[in-house]
């Protein structure tokens, strides 16, 4: 069992890094032949970077679109970030000081994350038009995230596990010095689900994470009259 989890994790991390890396390479090499920022768009690079920053941290467009979806989705993502930061303590020795500072927030965030996910799922089930566009994988993705979050919360609040042992295991993976994982069913479940998430990341709609950085309607500067924008394949037509 132990070896299996170790193997699964190593494989998942590898698949994640390679898959994710390939996607980024693939998006980056694909040309964007025409300037198509959704206007009004920033006219300078700095402005564009600020637009991206607002989009990535505040979900500006979603906010304009639908307040409820925005609230649930923003709550989920921010909590996820805090929870991830909290988890950094299993991978750092000594634990970075800002990670220590974030510990208590990470805890509440875990609860908020479940609430956000539940709200997002409720929309998928109860709002007719969202139900219409949902595929089984959309539901499964929420189920997976909810299971990860709740198994984690269970371990924290109800069935404490040998946290020192977990940390030894995690550091072991990072240094290819594999250590045993405490024998705890819930922990196994939590970790296997995380491994599964990492595995499917590069092959699923989770690609929205790198995707947003490559979205031409958001990451282009509105300056077509001032600069000539020409992709390689389009330039060939002029020869």
């Amino acid at each position: 069992m132990n070896a299996l989890i170790t193997l699964l994790f190593t494989f998942a991390i590898l698949a994640f890094v390679l898959g994710f890396g390939y996607r980024i390479y693939d998006y980056a090499r694909t040309p964007a032949p025409l300037l198509i920022p959704t206007t009004p768009a920033p006219t300078s690079r700095v402005g564009m970077l600020l637009r991206m920053l607002r989009e990535v941290t505040l979900f500006e467009s979603l906010f304009k679109a639908n307040l409820w979806t925005w609230a649930a989705s923003w709550a989920f993502h921010v909590s996820l970030a805090l929870v991830l930061i909290r988890h950094l303590r299993y991978f750092t020795e000594p634990v970075w000081f800002w990670v220590v500072l974030a510990q208590p927030f990470g805890l509440y965030a875990g609860l908020l994350m479940v609430a956000g996910l539940a709200a997002l799922w409720a929309r998928r089930i109860f709002v007719e038009r969202i139900r219409y566009i949902s595929t089984p994988s959309d539901h499964l993705m929420l189920a997976l995230l909810l299971s990860i979050a709740s198994s984690g919360l269970f371990i924290k609040f109800l069935f404490n596990t040998d946290i020192i042992g977990v940390k030894r295991f995690c550091l072991g993976i990072l240094h290819f010095d594999f250590q045993a994982l405490p024998g705890d069913g819930l922990l196994y479940l939590h970790l296997s689900l995380v491994a599964l998430l990492l595995l499917i990341f590069p092959f699923s709609k989770l690609l929205h994470a790198p995707g947003i950085f490559f979205s031409p309607s958001r990451n282009q500067v509105d300056n077509p009259r001032e600069k000539r924008h020409l992709s390689a394949w389009a330039a060939k037509l002029e020869k």
Partner: protein
């Protein structure tokens, strides 16, 4: 006409309930073999389905490699539904496939099946499906129910622009011989005759002479409408509808009066007598470029210093956003092809320039004077056209495309009222006829798609007595002229910004 009833206004603009398959039968005419071949596409679908199937998948693969937008947008959608209630066609038809995300999914389902691991292994789980003849017909129907207005892209957290996907779909359909008649016929005319409406050079000359006489009769002043004048300062590129359609022609008269008052010499071109560029609507880069090339040639031949574009939404998108890329009209080029033209242009001015920028600049410098009372019979509102609002700019500031036309209206008229928030500026609703859908067989769709705009107009008509909706797009003008009466308005409620300028401008005695 009396038999057509528009959809009822929503009392409160709530999100409609779904009406499955409501528009499944809506389809434009298929382009004939002759039309297809005239612009370099296969005449018709292959006899053998497998051949078409393979060609579609191959073309899709090619486009995924050429357009980052398509590739990223295919992957990034999380089915959050933020866009789902934002499309005027969904609001007007209640057909769930007119929700932007559902429209994208018509293609995304095929993308997943043939280009992603998950879709190859577990098609049902991720909404992937095989490409069949039925799927292709569904594309032809529903991608011809998108006006490429980009309203959905404003709200999508990843900026996914359904217009890009619609364009790709149309490009694929054309490439396998399944084109749309209206757009492809028009593109044929541009190449053959020089403009979308098929108005030949001599007819154009007659029309312009007639206009000179009309204006003389009206004002007593010799306002010129020059054609093909070498060495003129400004080349005006305007939609061909401006030459004879109502109310478009009144704006053309407005431009001429502004040029007259400014003292700047200008000319139209018989070669480039069309600002519209349907190459964009069908997502075909070659056509987009070829159609734009006429402007480059005309500018070089006539030796003009400036290029100004008339009131047309998608044409302004092409001119503003794409001309520098396509034909080098703009600044900042480092390659000889573009430099040749850019050296000729006068860079003290924006290249290209919108006619509204031209007029507003003159107004700001005190170069024009108006008799605002001439517009007092109008209580005016402004309809932002999609391609101007969400795909281009005017002036130096982001959002200038909203301010400048409004500033002009306020400078030439006394009564201006805004429509409800959320229906103007970047959130404006399409007129319902853009993107190559302005054809009679799609009238039902066009009427339904106009619903959100008509609701907003009705509100200000009731509350403020608005009786004139100014706009700067030839398609908007034509579409509204047709659908306004169906919603119980006079068709002359719609008109151009330069029509108002024309009413009020003082000529001769400044």
């Amino acid at each position: 006409m009396a038999t057509i009833t528009p959809p009822a206004y929503r009392i409160i603009p709530i999100i409609p309930v779904l009406n499955h398959g409501a528009m499944a039968k809506s389809m434009p005419y298929v382009a004939s073999e002759k039309m297809q071949e005239a612009i370099g596409f296969p005449g018709k679908l292959a006899e053998n389905w497998q051949e078409t199937h393979d060609a579609v998948i191959a073309k899709m693969g090619e486009l995924l490699g050429k357009y980052r937008s398509l590739k990223v947008y295919m992957d990034a959608c999380v089915h959050c539904g933020a866009c789902s209630d934002k499309c005027h066609y969904f609001i007007g038809t209640q057909d769930p496939k007119n929700m932007p995300v559902a429209r994208q999914d018509l293609m995304r389902s095929v993308y997943r099946r043939y280009f992603t691991l998950a879709g190859k292994l577990f098609p049902q789980w991720v909404g992937a499906r095989d490409l069949t003849r039925e799927v292709l017909d569904e594309w032809f129907s529903y991608f011809n129910q998108c006006s490429e207005c980009r309203r959905c892209s404003v709200f999508c957290p990843y900026g996914i622009d359904t217009a890009e996907i619609t364009m790709a779909a149309k490009e694929i359909l054309d490439s396998v011989g399944y084109g749309q008649k209206y757009s492809n016929e028009i593109i044929g005319k541009v190449h053959k005759i020089g403009n979308n409406l098929g108005l030949p050079g001599p007819a154009l000359e007659n029309t312009l002479e007639g206009l000179e006489e009309d204006v003389k009769e009206d004002t007593g002043i010799d306002v010129r409408f020059p054609l093909d004048v070498k060495g003129a300062e400004v080349l005006l590129i305007t939609p061909s509808a401006d030459f004879f359609a109502e109310p478009h022609i009144d704006s053309l008269i407005g431009y001429a009066k502004v040029f007259h008052a400014s003292g700047v010499s200008w000319t139209l071109s018989s070669k480039a007598s069309e600002a519209g560029n349907f190459g964009m609507f069908i997502g075909n880069y070659d056509q987009l470029r070829k159609i734009a090339l006429r402007v480059r040639e005309a500018a070089l031949e006539l030796g003009v210093k400036r290029i100004v574009v008339g009131e047309c939404g998608h044409a302004w998108r092409v001119a503003y956003s794409f001309w520098n890329t396509l034909i080098g009209v703009g600044a900042g080029a480092k390659d000889p092809y573009a430099i040749q033209l850019q050296n000729q242009l006068d860079h003290r001015y924006k290249q290209p320039m919108h006619i509204c920028e031209f007029t507003w600049d003159l107004i700001e410098r005190g170069g024009l004077s108006f008799n605002k009372e001439a517009n007092d019979k109008h209580i005016i509102t402004f309809h932002d056209s999609c391609n101007v609002a969400r795909a281009s700019r005017m002036g130096d500031m982001a959002g200038g495309q909203f301010e400048i036309p409004r500033n002009i209206i306020k400078a030439v008229a006394n009564n201006f009222v805004e429509m409800r928030d959320g229906t103007t500026r970047e959130q404006t609703f399409c007129c319902g006829g853009g993107g190559g859908l302005l054809t009679d067989e799609l009238l039902d769709l066009r009427i339904k798609g106009a619903l959100p705009r008509m609701e907003a107009l009705q509100q200000v008509a009731d509350s403020h007595g608005v009786n004139f909706m100014a706009t700067i797009c030839a398609i908007c003008k034509a579409q509204f002229t047709k659908v306004l009466p169906i919603y119980g308005f006079d068709r002359r409620v719609v008109g151009g910004v330069h029509q108002l300028v024309s009413n009020a401008i003082k000529l001769g005695d400044k």
